[in-house]
Each structure stands twice: as C-alpha cells, then as structure tokens.
C-alpha cells in the first residue's frame, strides 16, 4: 500500500549481493517499521522506505553507496531511530541504511585513553565497556540505553553531564566515513594535537547523516570518577535556582550534572508519586557531583550547601546511601513520564540559550503558556543553558493542536531573541527545518549548501533534512 514505486529488480539483487540476503528487508509490512523515529512526525506511507539494507562492514556500506549513487536513490542512515527530530525518517523513501548490526567495540586503547567502535554500538554499552577498565565515556543522552553511537555523532548528542564534561563533539577524535559515492574518508586520529588540514572530523559531527555515513569512530576518554553523589536543592523561584548554578560555576564547583525543574514539573512528580508539593517550592535542582572519593564529595557538598544557602534555597538534601542516591535520581528519571502523564500529547522541545538567559527564557515560556492556555512544564540542564519545555496538549483537538504549534513557534522565537539556538542536542532534522533558514541567515545557509554540494553532489544522503 505504499506510494513509493518499486526498485529495479537488478538493483535489489545488487543490494542482496552487497550485504547478503539476510541483511535486506523488503516486505512491505517489515519496511513499515523503518518509516519513523521518536519525533512527532506522523506515520505516513510516503516515508516508508522501499528497502532496508543492513551492512556489517565498511566495505559493505561502500558497495551499497556505489549502487545507490549510480541509481540516484535516496539513502537515509538509521541507528536505533530514537532521534527526536526525524533525522532517520526516510522522507523520500528509497533506502534505509540500518547500521544496527555494526555493533563491535573495536579497540580500547588504555595507554592513549581512546576507544574505537562501530556506529551501531549502543551508547550505554560503550560506556559500560570503558568503565570496566576504569575509563569514562561521558556523553549520556537521555536515550543512552537505546541510542547508538552513529546517531549520537550525527546529532552531536549531549546529555546531563554536558555541564562538566561537554557533548559528543568533545570526544570524537577521528572518523571513518563512507561518502555518497562509496569512497571511504578517514579523518583525525590518535594524535591529540592535529592541525593537518581542515577539521573534517568536526564537520561530520552533527551533520545529521547528510554528508556521509560514519562507519567507525574514535573517541577519547577520561578517567572514571571514583565516587559520585547526588544533591537535591529546592528554591522558591527559577531565578534563584539559576543564580545558584551560576555562582557554583563561578566558584569552580562544577557539578557533573545540574538538572533543573520548574514548579509545573514538581507538581507533575508529586502527582505521579502521590506525594504533596513542598510549601513554597518553585524550582528544584538535582545535582550530581563526582570526585576522587568520599572526602572530595563531602567538600563539594559543603561548598554547594553554602553557595545555595546564599542564593536563598529552602531545602537541601544530600544522598548518604546508595538507596538515597537512587531515590533522588529516580525523581529526575521519572520526570519525563510524570510530565507525559499530564496530557494526551506532549511536544517536547529542545532549545538552548546562554546560561545567563535561562531565567528570562523560562519567564517567556511561562508567558507563552498563559497566552496559549496550554501547560508548559520546563526542565533542563541548568548548567549548560539547554532546556526542554514540554507543551502539553491533546492533538486530537484541532484548536489545541493549533495553539500547541503556536506555543512551539513562540518558544523558538524566544530562544533566538535571547541569543540561543533552535536545538541543544536533538538536531534540526525535519521538525525544526522551517525555522532553520531564519535562525542562521542567508550566508550561513549558502555555506551549508556549498558543503553539502561538495560532499554529496547528487543530494542522495538523507534528503529533506535541516533546511
């Protein structure tokens, strides 16, 4: 029932030869499963691929790209399809290049503190693998139990620990990339200092699968922190909470995560856990601290207690036991479902502003909430200015749907006006494409197009994304 026309039988046979019959999915029912991701794009027959091809090696990716390039067929790379902006949705059908069977961690080089892995490795698996050797791969997007490294690189994924440890980009040392015509490009390497030529590695990070297919990646690692602790600090207002985070960073007490929740989030959590809201609570910080041992954590905890005290906190709890740590984190981890439970639908957004603008953007979002009559709980990563407003609505009601989209427009506008960006860690994909040109301006757009045209002259790689 798909609207796509069938591929030439010869071409299909070519794919089967390239990767093996057992790695090609052709049945209409099966390929339907590769037509969506975790974005709000509706299910649609137009985004159903004609074929799903699952290479296991760089050479196989290359063979597939040669065939696709020759026939000018769109190719959309896909890992776990856990992206939030439609990055792995095959907008024009064609081939979904599923990298989920390339799951090898190739080399853990402890001397250089680096690891190389294939794109289909799950983020958490790489983390755990390194942790067993006392090494630390910090990027931890919310979906890290599901998401794969290829997708993390394509979207330049962040996570809660970005405030102290940065994002995926900060860890990519080198890439092996299959280009649109099937040729294989190698970038970067294990040399920490490297200024030989353009930073092609950086070019591919965050390129959303539009410039090439990452077939292998080299990441740098850090030593695994020996101890971790969790603190929960409650404030009357978001302004006070944000000011407290800024004061911590200025003082050089950098938490490894600084998650902030507004009053609406706290209410959602209280509702889900059937507890009552603390009197006067308008904002809450869940802080993770890490260090060399219990003494280091104690020292940090005491300094944070003092700093937040000056910032006007009304509640402070430090987890003393493993169970308490779990309980405090559970509040943050359960937040998404608690917020989701408040309405039939949730448009979860991902904007990023300069840290100093955090309180102001929250104020503007609250105003948007009042103007549209829709609840918009805000949580986010206070330490890095990345926030996730959730527009709660019932999309089955056309009036609410219209107001929800109006709210999203307003949120983007507010972020841009305050010197922020459309996306902190989810990418542009399809869902933010209408805002892209306006956000970056004509010169940047032209530069993007020039890069795209140089690397993918037939525009077959992930068409219809970003702009």
């Amino acid at each position: 029932m798909t609207t796509c026309t069938a591929l030439e039988p010869d071409l299909l046979e070519g794919f089967r030869e390239a990767v093996g019959r057992e790695n090609v999915i052709e049945s209409p029912l099966e390929v339907f499963g590769y037509s969506y991701d975790a974005s709000f794009l509706p299910l649609d027959t137009r985004t159903v691929p004609q074929v799903v091809v699952r290479p296991r090696t760089t050479a196989e990716i290359s063979r597939v790209m040669v065939l696709a390039h020759r026939s000018r067929i769109p190719v959309t790379p896909r890992g776990a399809a856990s992206g939030r902006t439609g990055g792995s949705v095959p907008l024009q059908g064609g081939i979904v290049l599923a990298l989920d069977r390339m799951t090898s961690i190739l080399e853990l080089d402890t001397a250089n503190m680096m690891v190389s892995a294939e794109p289909g490795v799950r983020t958490i698996d790489l983390h755990d693998h390194c942790a067993r050797q006392g090494l630390f791969f910090p990027p931890d997007p919310g979906s890290w139990k599901v998401s794969t490294l290829g997708g993390n690189i394509a979207e330049n994924a962040g996570g809660m620990r970005a405030v102290k440890y940065g994002v995926t980009r900060d860890y990519v040392m080198g890439l092996e990339v299959v280009l649109a015509d099937g040729s294989v490009l190698e970038t970067g390497g294990k040399a920490v200092k490297n200024v030989t030529g353009y930073d092609l590695t950086g070019l591919f990070v965050g390129s959303e699968g539009t410039l090439g297919i990452v077939s292998r990646a080299l990441f740098r690692l850090r030593p695994l922190p020996k101890a971790r602790g969790v603190l929960r600090v409650v404030f009357r207002t978001m302004d006070e909470a944000c000011a407290a985070v800024q004061a911590m960073l200025l003082e050089g007490v950098t938490p490894s995560a600084a998650e902030i929740m507004d009053a609406a989030c706290l209410e959602a959590v209280a509702l889900a856990r059937k507890t009552s809201l603390e009197a006067g609570a308008g904002a809450c910080l869940i802080l993770e601290i890490d260090g060399d041992g219990p003494e280091a954590l104690d020292a940090q905890s005491r300094r944070i207690e003092a700093i937040t005290g000056q910032a006007g906190r009304i509640g402070f709890r430090a987890a003393a036991t493993r169970e308490e740590t779990e309980a405090l984190w559970a509040e943050r981890r359960g937040l998404s479902s608690a917020v989701a439970a408040m309405a039939p639908n949730r448009l979860g957004e991902d904007i990023s502003v300069p840290r100093s603008a955090f309180p102001e953007v929250v104020r503007r979002i609250n105003a948007i909430s009042r103007a549209t009559g829709l609840r918009i709980p805000v949580f986010g990563h206070a330490g890095d200015g990345n926030l996730h407003p959730s527009v709660l609505c019932d999309l089955a009601d056309p009036d609410q749907a219209a107001r929800a989209h109006e709210a999203v427009d307003g949120i983007f506008k507010a972020a841009l006006e305050l010197g922020g960006t459309l996306s902190g860690e989810h990418g542009i994909g399809v869902s933010k494409r209408p805002y892209f040109a306006g956000a970056v301006g004509p010169v940047s757009l032209e530069a993007h197009r020039a890069v795209k045209g140089a690397l993918d002259p037939l525009w077959i790689l992930n068409p219809g994304k970003i702009w």
Partner: protein
Amino acid sequence: MVSAAPKAGLAPLAAARQKVLGCDRCGSCLPVCPLFDVQDVERASARGKNALVRGLAEGLLAPGREAQEALEFCLLCRACTDACPGKVPTDEAMVQARQALADTLGHTPLRSRLIGRTLRRRSLVTLGAAALTGLRFLGLHRLLPSSVVPREVSRRSYLARRAGPALLGAPAPGVPPAVHPTARVAYFQGCGMKLLFPDASRSTQRILGGLSAFQRPDHPCCGLPHLAHGQRAAFLELARENIRAFEGADLVVTDCASCGGTLKHLASWFEGNPEWEGPAARFAAKVMDLTEYLVAAGYRPRALPGATFTYHDPCHLARGQGIRRQPRQLLEQAGQLVELSAKERCCGGSGSFHLEHPAAAAAILQRKQADIQGTGAQVVVTACPGCLIQLTRAADQSGGAFQALHISQVI
C-alpha cells in the same frame, strides 16, 4: 457490552489503537523486549508492533496473514510496559488487535485454535490429563515433542534424590490462615497444572489441605488462551462459568501465574455490563496466587538443609500481579535462594508461543538457561506451568546441572 462490535474488526482495532497512542516511539522498549533480543527487526519489537497497530488502524497497511502473524509474535510479557515512560500497555493492545484481525480475517493459527477448542471443554482437559498420565506411565510421552509433554519431576523424586528420609512424605506443618481464619478456600486448578504437571498440582493441594479443608469445584479453563488468540466470546463464556463455579468460596487460590493474572483482571472485561459487572468484580477480588495466600496465611515451609534454589519470576506473577516478595520469602525459608541476573526476563514460554515459534522460544530459553547455570543453584523454581514447560526443557538441556520445579514442590 463487550461482545463483538457490529462492524466486526473495526471497533476492536480502534480500541487497540487507542491503547498505543501514548507510544512516542522513543525506543525504551527495544533493549528489554525478549523477542527483539533474538530477532532484531523492528517488527518484532514492542515499538514496531505498536506502530503496526496504528498503521493497520489508520489504513497505512493492509491487514493480512503477515500482519496477523506479526501481532501473534508477542509474549505478552509486559517487559516493554515496565520500561516505557508512558506505560503503554502493548500486551493489551496485542490482545485487542489479534481479536480485531481474527474477527476480520477469521483465522488464527491452527494450533492455538486446537488448544482453544480443547481447553474450552473441561471434560476434554480431564480426558487429556488421563491420557497423558497413561502415556507417562508407559513412557510413550517421550515420542511427542518435549515441549508438548514436558518431563515432570515429581516432588518425591526430587526429595529422594537430594535429602534423607526424614524429609519425605509428611507435609510441612501448617499454621492457621492469619488473614481469613474462617475463609472458605477453593483451589483453581488451571489446565496447565492439571494436564502437564499433576504432581506439582498434588503438592499444591497437599499444602492447601494442611491449612484448611479446601474446595475443589468443577470449573473450566481461565480463558487466557482464548483471549490471547482472538476468541473473546469464548473467553467471556468461560469467565461467566468460573464466576458461577466459585460462588461458594471466599478465596480462590491458584498455583498458575497466568490463570491468576487473568482471573484477577476479569472485572475489566465486564465493565458496563449490568448483569455481570458486580459478580465479576467480586470474583476477581477473591483470587490469590498460591504464594500470596500462603504468606498471608502464615504458612512456613519446612527447611530443606543444603537446598539451593534460584527463582524465575513468571511475567504474569511479577509484572502481571506485582507478586515478587512472597515466593522469595517462602524459598528463603525452605533453603538458600540465589537470584538470577535477569530474574524477570521472560523464559519464552508464553502459552502456546513456544509451539508456534520454537526457534525464537529456544533462543530466549538459551539465555535463561545460561543465567540459571550461572547461579549454581540445584533447582530453578517458578510459579507458572507455562514457565515450567520451558524451564524443564532447559533443565534437560543442561544435562542434569539443575532441576526445574514448581514452587509447591519445594515448600
């Protein structure tokens, strides 16, 4: 009313779609779905099946045999729902979607239909049980595929193999039920226990008998096989018969996690039905799992010195009924309990799933077997005949490294 909607198929599919609308396709279910673990195509995952339901309901996909088979390829284990931020009940959606397709396309897989017909008639189950006893006596059951007739280990042979004569024979001393001292207790003997594990069922009755004079009313199947495979009308008829059969009991105790889970949830299927809503709710409130009842009644199993157990949580007991503590408490009193690393991971049994999809079920079981052997326990214990079929097979494959027993056989 809950019977088939006038436009066969359409209304139930809309209901299934409603169940999965909360799925935002985040993929949290992917790492926990046992089927996606052994068959890495999107269609096999909970997310894939939720999307399939929407695709079918929204006219993006044509309903047909392939779709029906894809919807059958679900263990109903609820691991996905547990991991889901929005708690989407994929299992319920599957049950409803299967019904919708069965109503529209009219056919379900042959074997589940056969089982459905047999289990609907209690006399056939009794006959089957007698026939299997005969086959076992003659040793002929070995000619059938092992998963159809598992090799049951009796409590007697278990005790004989591992301990001295002092432990044989006499049931452990009972303590009067603490919660309902005068409650009229009835035993719900599920088809799996009656047909496939008669010794375990006798152990259950021995324990129940030590606590009170319990009833054994004549009753049919709990109806889960019918419900799960698009025979809702049959399920509702069986439910009504069961409600009537247990009218004279205050507590309905079962040693089958799947029966218990189904019976405890009966009320929801009769909501809005003036005649049956009340009786169904009253019946459901009386149902207890054996372990739940025993702990509430203060039963203390006799300790078996040196016995080491590991415990496999049946999906329909742990996630289905929230019962995790009671079986462990009983096992810790009976011996030493060593936990599995993935204790709540489905064993791949799931009713007739292991007959319909032997390769997938075997792959899932292989992981379970490795987990069991990793504990070093002598016995893997569970509380559902569906799991026991699979675990018995794993025990056979282990070459005697461990035994598989129902919890009533070791407490």
